[in-house]
């Protein structure tokens, strides 16, 4: 019988280790986040600006999309402060003829349509009190826009195929339940029927949603973003500050559970006239709750070339909770050194794109 470590046991160990190694762990937290980001970002606009908005508007219809933009940009040529929006244009509209099989077996063009997403974020920098008074009263707003899409998104894994059968079985059971609502409205005499609830169906549906993000086969994705500075938060003062592009290609096997990803990313700082190019790869092997991986990234920077090499070990304690260890060599050669040595406990609060 499989036994996972309990959350309490692991938390105690991690607490001890973190507080015995507080200083290097904090210095390396940034390295850890970079290690984890060897994939196309889900919201490239946010990543380029280096922000994690506390609140993101995600409209689901054309009306709410338009309303969100109009409300944010209603002040004429003054940009909104700290606004974030993410939207998938294809899914703002109904698609009554798009079946699940059609969605899963989409060609390149249809995949592109189904997966394209837009991200838009503003971030306002308030100037410190000791600068020019006029400048302090007129903060700079940064705006970033990003676009991300897949060209190849793989196909259903065996687990997804099984989950679909589970759902079909649960739905068949649900259909057999006789309800007052099965009486035609014109023949009903009693109170309105009560809403129906099918927990087994819901559990199976959520499982399918999760497994849809773990498709196997060839995966190909790209993203781009650009960031603009607006002095005094005025639209007329737009100035390109940076732009970036990402491309990710990968192959995921079902059995054994092996994933190989290659990433290219390019960032250009237009103001400093400097560029960064990263090229790297990651291989990940999963065996039960244990995941082993290795990552190599080569960076071409203005001053020099660097590389990062890391090994990653992850153990799933329970759903959404992972114990992870990362060890290797990071890009930096500064005072803090370039050793990566992190042990952490991760709580998954949202879904991350796998590619």
């Amino acid at each position: 019988m499989k036994r996972n470590l309990s959350l309490e046991q692991v938390s105690g160990v991690v607490f001890f280790l973190v507080f015995c190694h507080a200083s290097p762990a904090m210095a390396q937290a940034k390295a850890k986040s970079e290690v984890d980001q060897l994939r196309t970002p889900s919201a490239p606009g946010f990543v380029l600006l280096g922000v994690e908005p506390a609140s993101v508007e995600r409209p689901t219809t054309p009306k709410t999309f338009a309303f969100s933009l109009l409300s944010a940009f209603k002040n004429g040529d003054t940009l909104p402060k700290n606004y974030a929006l993410e939207a998938a244009p294809y899914w703002l509209f109904p698609h009554q003829s798009l079946t699940y099989d059609g969605y899963m077996k989409a060609g390149v063009g249809q995949t592109l349509l189904q997966t394209v997403s837009l991200s838009l974020v503003t971030s306002t920098e308030e100037h410190p009190a000791n600068t020019d008074a006029a400048l302090a009263a007129a903060p700079t707003t940064k705006l970033a826009m990003g676009l991300r899409a897949q060209l190849l998104s793989g196909h259903a894994s065996q687990a997804l195929i099984e989950a679909r059968k589970e759902l079909e079985a649960a739905q068949a059971e649900a259909l057999d339940v006789v309800s007052d609502a099965d009486t035609a409205p014109s023949r009903r005499t009693g109170p309105p029927p009560t809403p129906e609830d099918f927990p087994k169906v819901k559990a199976a549906a959520l499982k399918i949603q999760k497994l849809d993000k773990e498709r196997v086969g060839f995966l190909l994705e790209g993203a781009g973003a650009l960031a603009l500075n607006y002095a005094e938060s005025k639209a007329k003062n737009a100035e390109l500050s940076r732009w970036g592009a990402w491309a990710t290609a990968g192959y995921r096997l079902d059995k054994p559970r092996l994933e190989i990803i290659g990433v290219l990313r390019y960032q250009r700082d237009a103001l400093a006239e400097q560029s960064l190019l990263d090229a790297g790869g990651r291989a990940n092997f999963k065996l039960g709750e244990l995941s082993l991986g290795g990552e190599y990234v080569h960076r071409w920077a203005p001053d020099d070339d660097f590389y990062r090499l890391a090994g990653i070990l992850e153990y799933q304690i329970q759903s959404g909770v992972y114990l992870s260890a990362t060890f290797g060599r990071n890009f930096e050669n500064g005072a803090t050194g370039n050793l990566i040595s992190i042990l952490g406990l991760n709580f998954g609060l949202g879904s991350d794109p796998k590619l």
């Binding site: 689901t60 998938a88 899914w91 109904p94 698609h95 009554q96 003829s97 798009l98 079946t99 699940y100 059609g102 969605y103 899963m104 189904q114 679909r164 759902l167 079909e168 739905q171 068949a172 649900a174 259909l175 057999d176 309800s179 609502a181 099965d182 035609a184 409205p185 014109s186 129906e196 099918f198 169906v201 819901k202 559990a203 199976a204 549906a205 959520l206 399918i208 949603q209 849809d212 993000k213 879904s351």
Partner: protein, 113 residues
């Protein structure tokens, strides 16, 4: 209610076909009864309902469960297409579920006239 439909469908003196399309990349399953007798269950595509016993004045009841398996939208929809009657007709129903993974039961009563 947006998930219910009761309507007349005028038959001719021949078999009728029904197609049920679950849209928005969601997954669903249907159950069909003709005057209370179960005809079919599952994924209904090009199902022929025989006119060997006249269909006139019978009620075709279709119950469809659609589950939100698509995390990109909470919109669900079902399209019923009936052919073989006096005219071919298409009926569309759509509901947005509140939470991820929720299901909708659609019900349609076709009074065959």
């Amino acid at each position: 209610m947006a998930n219910e439909l009761e309507t007349d469908y005028f038959v001719a003196d021949r078999d009728i076909d029904i197609d049920i399309t679950i849209g928005e990349a969601q997954l669903g399953s249907s159950l069909l009864r003709l005057d209370g007798k179960q005809l079919a269950k599952g994924d209904i595509q090009h199902l022929t309902i025989s006119n060997s016993t006249p269909l006139k004045d019978k009620v075709l009841f279709v119950k469809t469960i659609v589950s939100d398996v698509n995390d990109k939208t909470n919109l669900t929809s079902v399209v019923y297409t009936l052919r073989g009657g006096k005219i071919d007709q298409t009926f569309r129903l759509s509901v947005t579920v509140e939470d991820e993974g929720d299901s909708v039961i659609y019900r349609a009563w076709f009074n065959l006239k």
